[in-house]
Point group: C2
Chain length 312, copies 2
């Protein structure tokens, strides 16, 4: 066990992200105690049952009292109301961070309510699964995953170092960047791909000539990877698109232009153009494997969904 | 070991698909002997070295002589020339199948060259990895994967049953459908998703404000799944889009319409529309897991790319 890095951590919102943080902090003694708040009675009950919180509170205002770290783990659209509620109850010197997938909108929503002497350090753990809720959390969710922080020039260096040490102790790789740049990078690597995946799954669902059972049965070659993405939490993603609107619309515009170029090549039968394009995209994939962000094992290193005995 | 189902199997083209068939047939004694043809000297040499062929031939015409099963495992664009070459050399009563990802174009290219008394049964194994070449093959590639056959009303029932028994013995699940319907289903579950993935990877590559190293570093949330798809064999995919043009353009048109609806909802800030859309797509994902086409383990059941020791 390490020495606790914070004496009392208050988790506001008790879904996959907060629950995984709690498991990770418990596993390594990183927090003296962990308290929590969730809107729903049921979620608070589950949090006590599975032991991710020592105490739970029906209001966020109560939960943050006396905490030296407050983690805002609610959907981006709920951040402003929570910040307004907790602002007057934050302990002097405490650190407030969040786990939202967009940063400029969260800063605009939260920063005005942070009192003098409290450190607000926006954050974004780039980890998750297609499951949500307190029972979906597990201690190793952040191991070897990036956790981006977007401090500004006024951020207290000591508070930043302490938060960084907590995240690293949970297994995360921590990087800092400007909030606006964060939102553009995420629009490219995450937000727009999600919207596209949602759309493709929707098209399949609407197509009368192809039954849903056929789509499901023959999904292994391509479509399956889209559906995993498209199964993510609807509330979180609604808020992402509403709050990172400009960057997503920019990338979507570029995507559509580029798609039309390829669509035209198909219509005109321009095989050389297609071949050249498909060859270039291979290089990026190689880079991802070399950067250790995915396995090079065939088929993603998946274990076959239904095991079939190998015969001699 | 089972009794051989065919006495001599001729593999025309020795890439991932043919090589995996050879490994699977060898593992279970399904073929008396396996001969092969590949255009390149190097590929033929490798095929002998790794033992997937008993003999190799510099021409397809030589390779098919005396075979009771001929497997056309070349890119779809190369099928017509190969069929013209082998037609006069096919043994009476033999079965010719192919492994192309589109079926109507292959039938149009191959059927005219199939002599009376030879059975042409088009096929499509829905399995693969992002790797290609003879060394990429492995015996379990087809285990629990679909292998679609598109016979017509003139297809010999006995020849069909024999081919089916071979594919099932290699672990595949076999289904039959009409060739036109096959091409539409595949446009939805595979071809269009691939084109979209290629496009998104291309957009990321072109974006000057975001470096490629950032795209690679932060790819874990969404983009990574696109790059795997986009790393597939460029020749194969060029031919797919050129030969399944109509169905792909149809699905692409629907996709763009639908994407514009979501794009407008983002621009107008219509959160309810986004939320409803994202909620509906979750159901399809659940269906895929229930159909055993993917694992329900978080993050696809991936093993972390770089192992990090769990601390006590």
């Amino acid at each position: 066990m390490s020495a606790p890095i914070y004496n009392r951590v208050a988790l506001i919102g008790l879904g996959l992200i907060a629950s995984s943080m709690a498991h990770a902090m418990r596993a390594d003694g990183l927090a003296g105690e962990i308290v929590g708040h969730a809107k729903s009675d049921e979620t608070r009950k589950v949090a006590l049952q599975i032991g991710i919180c020592d105490r739970v509170y029906a209001t966020a205002a109560e939960a943050v009292q006396g905490a030296d770290l407050v983690v805002l783990a609610v959907p981006v659209g709920a951040m402003a109301a929570i910040a307004a509620e907790i602002g007057p109850h934050l302990a002097p010197g405490c650190t407030v961070t969040d786990v939202g997938s967009v940063k400029q909108a969260v800063i605009a929503a939260v920063a005005p309510f942070i009192p003098q002497g409290v450190h607000f350090i926006p954050g974004h753990p780039m980890a998750g699964t297609e499951y949500s809720g307190p029972r979906a959390g597990f201690a190793t969710l952040y191991k070897n995953r990036w956790w981006l922080l977007t401090p500004d020039e006024a951020t207290d260096a000591e508070a930043l170092a302490r938060l960084r040490s907590l995240l690293q102790a949970m297994g995360a790789k921590v990087d800092t960047m400007d909030a606006a740049h964060h939102d553009l990078v995420l629009a490219v690597v995450s937000h727009t791909p999600h919207l596209i995946a949602y759309t493709m799954v929707g098209v399949a669902d609407h197509l009368a000539q192809v039954s849903n059972s056929e789509v499901i049965q023959y999904s292994a070659t391509g479509f399956r990877d889209f559906t995993r993405i498209a199964a993510s939490d609807p509330t979180m993603w609604r808020d992402v698109f509403l709050t990172n609107k400009e960057a997503v619309l920019d990338i979507l515009g570029r995507f559509t232009e580029e798609l039309f170029v390829l669509q035209r090549a198909i219509r005109m039968g321009d095989g050389d153009q297609l071949f050249d394009y498909f060859t270039r995209t291979r290089a990026i994939r190689r880079g991802i494997i070399e950067a250790g962000q995915d396995t090079s094992a065939p088929d993603f290193g998946r274990v076959p969904a239904v095991a079939v005995d190998a015969k001699a």
